[in-house]
């Protein structure tokens, strides 16, 4: 019943969405503007959305998406955003396996392709942020690591992500671009465990995403390197075919792409698409 009711409200919703997108495209930098945009969208949508939106998102999105989820719930009283954060591959696997979700935000086009190929997505995935690699070193950078080449110094314990997971593939691409050969002490199963090894001082450095370095605060120190430009990861987002709450799903994707959403994401270290 709620479903049919929602369907009748669709045009209004699309209008609101369009407004948000326009505002986002105008890329206004003033925070006043973005807050007014928010109040606009909430004024037009708050009484129309309800229920729960289930978002499957890459682990690296955890901090920023949690913030966005709270914003979304505030703007649309009566809604609830539930997240499932995890490795993009396993999330993709659970979606194709029939897990009930409304939105999928992946850390790589490759994993997104698994979902689109399986016909589980509605529409074309849109890249909403990009993530760049960075070297995470111990606080204070005691080993004076200044470049990707410095990681190949002997005696240095470096961890990389496994080549099978996106951050590892990206790191390999960067190394290839720099014509460097690096033997790490370990190929970690995901970016978080690679970072953890540095946080625990078990490894001297790791090649991870900027956002991860950002999230780790002062427990690690980030070092930019030019080769990372060759291995920028794109994050696509899409609404899923089996979405139970299509309106809210669309609204959430809109929020992510809005100026307000982008601000939260860039603050977390992501690059704009």
């Amino acid at each position: 019943m709620t479903r049919t009711a929602r369907r009748t409200r669709r045009p209004m919703q699309v209008a609101a969405l369009g407004a948000t997108v326009l505002l986002a495209l105008s890329a206004c930098s003033s925070s006043d503007d973005s807050s007014s945009a928010k109040s606009d969208s909430s004024a037009s949508a708050s009484d129309k959305l309800s229920g729960t939106v289930t978002v499957f998102a890459a682990a690296s999105l955890k901090e920023s998406f949690t913030t966005l989820g709270e914003q979304f719930e505030k703007e649309h009283p009566g809604t609830k955003v539930t997240f499932s954060f995890g490795g993009s591959d396993s999330l993709a696997a659970s979606i194709t396996g029939g897990a009930p979700a409304d939105v999928f935000a992946s850390a790589s086009p490759k994993t997104m392709k698994i979902v689109t190929d399986a016909g589980d997505a509605t529409g074309t995935p849109a890249t909403f942020v990009r993530n760049q690699l960075e070297i995470a070193t111990l606080p204070g950078n005691p080993d004076k690591i200044a470049s990707l080449k410095d990681l190949t110094k002997s005696g240095l314990k470096v961890v990389l992500c496994d080549k099978e997971v996106p951050c590892g593939a990206a790191a390999q691409k960067a190394l290839d671009a720099g014509k460097l050969k690096l033997t790490p002490v370990s190929y970690e199963q995901d970016v978080k465990s690679a970072l953890t090894k540095v946080e625990l001082k078990e490894a001297d450095a790791a090649v991870v995403y900027k956002t991860d370095v950002h999230a780790a605060g002062d427990k690690v120190e980030g070092v930019d390197f030019p080769e990372s430009a060759n291995a920028i990861n794109e994050y696509p987002i899409v609404q899923l075919k089996d979405a139970q709450n299509t309106e809210a799903a669309k609204a959430f994707i809109a929020l992510v792409q809005s100026a307000a959403g982008q601000q939260v994401l860039t603050e977390a270290g992501f690059l704009k698409p």
Partner: protein
Amino acid sequence: MTRPTDRSGAAADTLRGGPRRRRVRTGGGGRGAPLPLLVPALIGVAFLVVPLIALLVRAPWRSLPTLLTSAEVWQALQLSLVCATAATAVSLVIGVPLAWLLARVEFPGRGLVRALVTLPLVLPPVVGGVALLMALGRNGIVGRSLDSWFGITLPFTTAGVVVAEAFVAMPFLVISVEGTLRAADPRFEEAAATLGASRFTAFRRVTLPLIAPGIAAGAVLAWARALGEFGATITFAGNFPGRTQTMPLAVYLALQSDPEAAIALSLVLLAVSVAVLAGLRDRWMTAG
């Protein structure tokens, strides 16, 4: 006729699967199993067996030879076998005396010690791995000294894999051996003492041979657990082919990109497990 060997025989029976045989006999006694028991039991069988069958059904049999003859698979399998065996050896050297202490010596806080040493049985392995990093990592409370005094660091080394596996597997051995020790008649040790044997001699020459079947069972359990260890290993020792990448790690990472390879690797682990169980079952059945 009451014979002095009866007690130890009873202990060995349990390990030989004597009671299991007895249970089957009761079930097959011609009276038929009641439905409220039979139906859940059959569901139980299906629940445990169907996933294994599925693995066989979905196995890429055609590409299997190519998948399995790759150097990487053999490297991982070899490393798995070596590390599991080494972890079992470590568990034996430390775990058997520990089991003896828990079974034979009364000391304050024994219950607490038993609870603590068996904790890794229920602890998520990843937590075990983190705990090991905190203790034996380069910056851990013990590992720091190991590093500065001896230049030994365990994380990211094959020795680290052995440590992680032993940490998770040893409790199985301790539990099994302690149980056997409790079932074994402590009076054999007393008899040895009256013959002039010190406690250690009695342990070495009497207790150890008596509980050998229990030790074997515990060692197999520990070995199997070590062979399948994933969480603590990848957390503590990382993942590097040929050095710390054991079969379970290879399976997990293969699953990220190449499910077929993962299934193939899983089949190898399954085959090894079945072979071990089958081999030991035979030995237990014919022992004594």
